[in-house]
């Protein structure tokens, strides 16, 4: 009962003191909602998807290499991978983004191709790969040792056993956590503002912010936020479905 009493008090205070009309005008102005949707939302959504997709692919490839290095019998590979993973997991993504956007200034002559997309892919991919490597390592290690023994006893090399038997099974275990990491990447892609973008290159956050700035109203940012949910909510639901079907063994 006490919990409900607190809720009732909070609601009553909100009803008494909140300036509903003003809140509505600042956050949910219908004219601005329409304007935001019609002028650039689709492009920003597409950019966010592009930034994330490239980074995810790069992160997957790099992550797999790192995961295999961490499981390698060759100690220096293990050390290198561990240092990389701990380094990039320990740093704020923002710092990595700033570093990569300053790289062409520090090394004159160095250019990251397809800028700004290339820069974003590399920066976000490097950070993402550190997380994905650990997910993949866990997935690979979750495949029972007997599977490798069976494959090796049939004459497969360790590389063939890894490709044909272990990774095929590990992949299934990895899909739900990797989808979670994709969601994290989508949100982290909002850091692209560091790179310096022109209007056509804006992602959802930059688009929302600039439109909100020019209109001195928060509504466009709310719309941009809903744009993220448009991508992340279906993905979250997909993960939950996959996890349920894994438990039931379907």
């Amino acid at each position: 009962m006490a919990q409900y009493a607190i809720l009732a008090i909070v609601l009553a205070l909100a009803a008494e003191f909140a300036k509903w009309r003003e809140i509505g005008r600042t956050f949910f102005e219908p004219r601005l909602i329409e304007f935001t949707i019609l002028h650039g939302l689709a492009n920003a959504l597409l950019n966010t998807a592009l930034y994330t997709a490239g980074a995810f692919v790069l992160g997957l490839v790099l992550g797999l290499v790192l995961a295999l290095m961490r499981l390698s019998p060759v100690a220096p590979y293990r050390w290198l991978a561990t240092v990389y993973i701990e380094f990039f997991r320990g740093l704020p993504s923002l710092v990595v983004f700033i570093a990569f956007s300053l790289l062409p200034l520090a090394f004159s002559g160095l250019t990251i191709p397809w800028s700004p997309y290339g820069t974003v892919w590399v920066a976000l991919g490097v950070v993402g790969s550190a997380y994905m490597a650990e997910t993949m390592r866990a997935g690979i290690q979750a495949v029972p040792k007997g599977q490798v023994e069976a494959a090796r006893s049939l004459g497969m090399s360790s590389a063939q056993a890894m490709r044909k038997i272990v990774l095929m099974q590990a992949l299934r275990l990895m899909v739900p956590p990797l989808t979670n990491e994709l969601i994290m990447l989508i949100k982290d892609s909002s850091l692209v503002f560091v790179v310096g973008l022109s209007a056509g290159q804006f992602d959802l956050t930059e688009f929302g912010r600039s439109t909100a700035n020019t209109n001195v109203n928060i509504t466009p940012l709310v719309v941009a936020g809903l744009g993220y949910l448009l991508i992340t909510l279906p993905l979250s639901m997909l993960v939950r479905r996959m996890e349920v079907s894994r438990v039931t063994g379907a």
């Binding site: 599977q147 023994e149 069976a150 090796r152 006893s153 004459g155 497969m156 063939q160 299934r172």
Partner: protein
């Protein structure tokens, strides 16, 4: 004892030692198997019999001794282990079937990957082998859809699909419900009668007695006694063999 050609030795082991850290598991094993011979290894758990079997295809690497299979020195640093294992089939206690593959696919993945057979050729062999173990109607079934006995028979067919010269069985019926043991032993017996060279680590004394050409009793990392089943199981000479068999054959007896 039909089909034994004493002139051809398939496995030859001399002075084999295996240690896991401080644990000295194999303490100087001398052991050989002729072509077509069926050898059952018995002994208490921890006696090193599974380790010996796993050394023969180098799933465990011994630290000392000689190990020859089909005339090839497997402990030679230049030996191609992957190539040597193609001729040594292995059946595990826990089956270790590939759960993401059907019964048929389990039997073709290695021939296609390792021997580079075409799918059609690999499937023809696989079908024949699955038929041989009585599973012609389960080609498309996934391991999870099969009983333990059926899974173990698929595992036997999978090993046979590489057309090995030697089959190793590591307690193949120990993980099975009692009523499913028979179908696996029958499949193994047919294989033995067809002339396959087999080394079987087992607790099934009836199988050892009826099918084996030779029984080897191991204890504490050494071979204590070996010979025809009628003498090792029927009339053991060594005290340790006698006490082990008493415990296995008459488990509820109070001494």
């Amino acid at each position: 004892m039909s089909g034994i050609d004493p002139g051809r030795t398939v496995v030859k082991i001399e002075g084999l030692h295996k240690r896991f850290g401080q644990n000295h598991v194999l303490r100087g094993i001398d052991f050989s198997v002729a072509r077509g011979e069926v050898v059952c290894i018995i002994g208490p758990s921890g006696s090193g019999k599974s380790t010996l079997l796993r050394c023969i295809n180098l799933l465990e690497r011994p630290q000392q001794g000689r190990l020859e299979v089909n005339g090839e020195n497997l402990l030679d640093p230049d030996c191609d282990i992957d190539a040597a294992r193609r001729h040594i089939g292995m059946v595990f206690q826990q089956f270790n079937l590939f759960p993401h593959h059907t019964a048929l696919e389990n039997c073709i993945v290695a021939p296609m990957t390792v021997l580079r057979l075409t799918r059609a050729a690999a499937e023809a062999t696989a079908r024949a082998n699955l038929e041989r173990v009585g599973l012609a109607d389960k080609l498309g079934a996934y391991p999870a859809q099969l009983s333990g006995g059926q899974q173990q028979r698929v595992a036997i067919a999978r090993a046979l699909s590489m057309e090995p010269a030697l089959m190793l069985f590591d307690e193949p019926t120990s993980a099975l419900d009692p009523e499913l043991v028979g179908e696996v032993l029958t499949a193994m017996r047919k294989l033995a009668e067809a002339g396959m060279t087999m080394i079987v680590v087992t607790h099934e004394m009836a199988f050892a007695r009826e099918v084996a050409d030779r029984v080897v009793f191991m204890d504490a990392g050494t071979i204590i006694e070996q010979g025809p089943p009628d003498s090792v199981i029927g009339a053991p000479r060594e005290a340790r063999t006698q006490s082990f068999l008493r415990r296995v054959l008459n488990p509820v007896h109070l001494d």
